[in-house]
Symmetry: C2
Subunit: 392 residues, 2 copies
């Protein structure tokens, strides 16, 4: 699938993290792109998150470039605002853009000063090396504990031509998106007015990043940006806009799922499907409570069909329901009917739970129409190993 | 310290759990004791929890005996109510008590039918073996993944004589008390009216069981009972009542702390101290969010003074605060001042964090008077090992 037109990319090792892997990325749009953004709901917000908001307000949502680094979150830092601004200024000067059209994003350790000189010194090299086909190099540069780069692509054929969508994201721990998570950049060459773009992103996030948890921790740096630069020359009409939104949402869902699959220490992607709740919101709360239960996640790690923990976790969601109307299926096998044990072969189900993808279906019998899909991962010794010595 | 007067105890192996360790306990009060109780807030509640409520209502809070088993939660079971009732009936007949004066409690796996015959057959042996000094045998019989039995004792010298308090509890995983947790029985020989006893328990729980989390999961069987049988012949006067309540609260706090210390896989007890929040409730929410962060708990496991995770977890508590006013100390060492890194020797603090008890102090500068103390434990590979194969 082709990349969206009119974007160029570059990545390099600026020396921010110790391991000599690219830690700085640059995304540039030839035309000023309309942009929509969602940010972390954590009370503690990193300097680049705050500057991103200010720049989007000042530029009225027009974006020319994104400067993103891994290895340092630039959060809870004395020089945070100045450092983020220095990076944007440097990129703006090199790219001949108003500074407000450059957005910063950072990910990595919290509470360590970010040396902006490392970024300012590396930027000329990145600008000189900008290429239309280097999307993947930026996706790799933003990785922290991620084992794999995370990309998703789509295109939509419209009456007046084709528009393309490409997304990248990072994240593996400190993941419980609430309105946004981690870092994610979705680019399209469709021509979409900013107000519509914001609505699209808000809805796409609801079914993707906001339905994802690795460890229940929401980071201080979560930033998801959606850019539309119109380089395809195609402005979808009202009807076509729905098709574009559908593909943007699919890309966001692909990216969110890829984060859960690559959760720190994870061996299994868990998809949780809720139906029969009173509202979609109640369904999402049930799903989140199951997804965040360490007891459910360790049971899946051990391929143990311990459905009592799923029922108990649902009972802790703060959602009213009658346990006698609860059905649970694991890997398509009924394990609980009406709140009681169903007959199933434990040995056979244990084998099915050894798969790389596990599905938990929690259904409330009755008239409720509320449903939710949610992604998480199993909980293994690997998570502990990674996080007991993240900084050392 | 002496045990409260007028109580007798017995324990035996009834065959409920596979390992041949005592799994059935009986506590009998010679005089009908006034009783107060708090139960799990999980929407899914085990049969013994429901029957306990009914019996307390029917007997107007008068209790003659507690029948408690480990190895099976009797939750999400077809025959749950009948099984719990059969056990109470059998004990009532043997002890010549009204059935409503017998309270049931269960802990163990969810969703497996409890064979009440095992208990009914074992009860005559327990009744025949009742002894005033066998308190510890019941504390051992209620253990599941607990490594140590959990007991706490106190006595208060009053004008007219001495009253004694003894408490036992169990619990190691599926621990996040909200109004109650796990199983806990606190007995006193003081003479205390039931209404006052309920107020005492409610307040004692607030600063003990409700300030404790091992893994953020609230069980379906949590039951905490406070019994006062008056066997000391001493009825504290209004002023003395405060001293009795203080000791009961101290026993409840001792028991709660002992659960955190013995959390599944835990090597360290973590005490979290919050001050300067707008209200005590806000302080408790900040404490709970820090206590439930797997990233904070794994950092402590690895003796990593990663205070950024503490700040980020506080930011996720749903409590408004200004990060620039946040101070954090670990083991008495300032690691964060005004939301920024403090100067400290990382090597020295790492050594201090190797201790069996770790203290995290989170202070908001300003006029807020809200404070909270909260207990949790570190998060190690041991938790995963225990819970990936709990049933197998």
């Amino acid at each position: 699938m082709d990349l969206p037109l009119g974007y160029r990319y570059a990545a390099a090792y600026a020396g921010i993290r110790q391991a000599e892997k690219d830690d700085l990325g640059l995304i540039v749009s030839g035309l000023p792109a309309a942009a929509a953004a969602v940010f972390t709901q954590n009370r503690v917000q990193a300097a680049p998150v705050k500057l991103c908001r200010r720049h989007l307000a000042a530029s009225r949502g027009a974006v020319g470039a994104i400067v993103v680094n891994a290895g340092n979150a630039n959060c809870a830092t004395r020089t945070g605002n100045a450092a983020a601004l220095a990076c944007c200024r440097s990129a703006a000067r090199l790219l001949r853009l108003p500074v407000a059209q450059v957005l910063p994003a950072s990910t990595g350790v919290i509470g360590v000063e970010l040396d902006s000189k490392l970024i300012v010194n590396a930027l000329p090299r990145l600008v000189a090396g900008l290429r239309e086909d280097a999307f993947g190099s930026v996706a790799r540069a933003i990785m922290t504990t991620d084992l794999v780069p995370k990309e998703a692509f789509a295109e939509v054929k419209l009456r007046r031509g084709t528009v393309r969508i490409a997304g990248m994201t990072k994240g593996s721990g400190m993941i419980q998106p609430r309105m946004a998570t981690t870092l994610g950049f979705i680019l399209t060459d469709a021509q979409i007015p900013a107000a519509m773009l914001r609505r699209m992103l808000r809805r796409a996030v609801e079914s993707s990043y906001n339905r994802l948890s690795v460890d229940g921790d929401t980071s201080t740096n979560d930033t998801l940006l959606l850019l539309a630069n119109g380089a395809s020359g195609v402005r979808p009409d009202a009807k076509e806009m729905a098709a574009v939104e559908e593909r943007i949402t699919a890309v966001a869902e692909d990216l969110a799922r890829s984060i859960a699959r690559d959760g720190e220490g994870a061996r299994k992607l868990i998809t949780i499907l809720i139906s029969g709740a009173s509202t979609d919101d109640a369904a999402a709360r049930l799903a989140r409570s199951i997804a965040n239960s360490p007891l459910v996640k360790t049971a899946v790690a051990g391929s143990d069909p311990n459905w009592g923990r799923i029922l108990s976790a649902a009972g802790n969601a703060g959602v009213a329901f009658d346990p006698r109307k609860a059905d649970i299926d694991m890997q398509g096998v009924p394990v609980c009917r009406g709140g009681l044990a169903a007959r199933f072969s434990e040995a056979e189900l244990k084998r099915k739970l050894d798969a790389a993808e596990c599905e938990i279906r929690f259904t409330l019998r009755g008239k409720g129409k509320g449903q939710a899909r949610f992604w998480t991962c199993d909980f293994t010794e690997g998570y502990i190993r990674i996080n007991a010595s993240y900084r050392t």
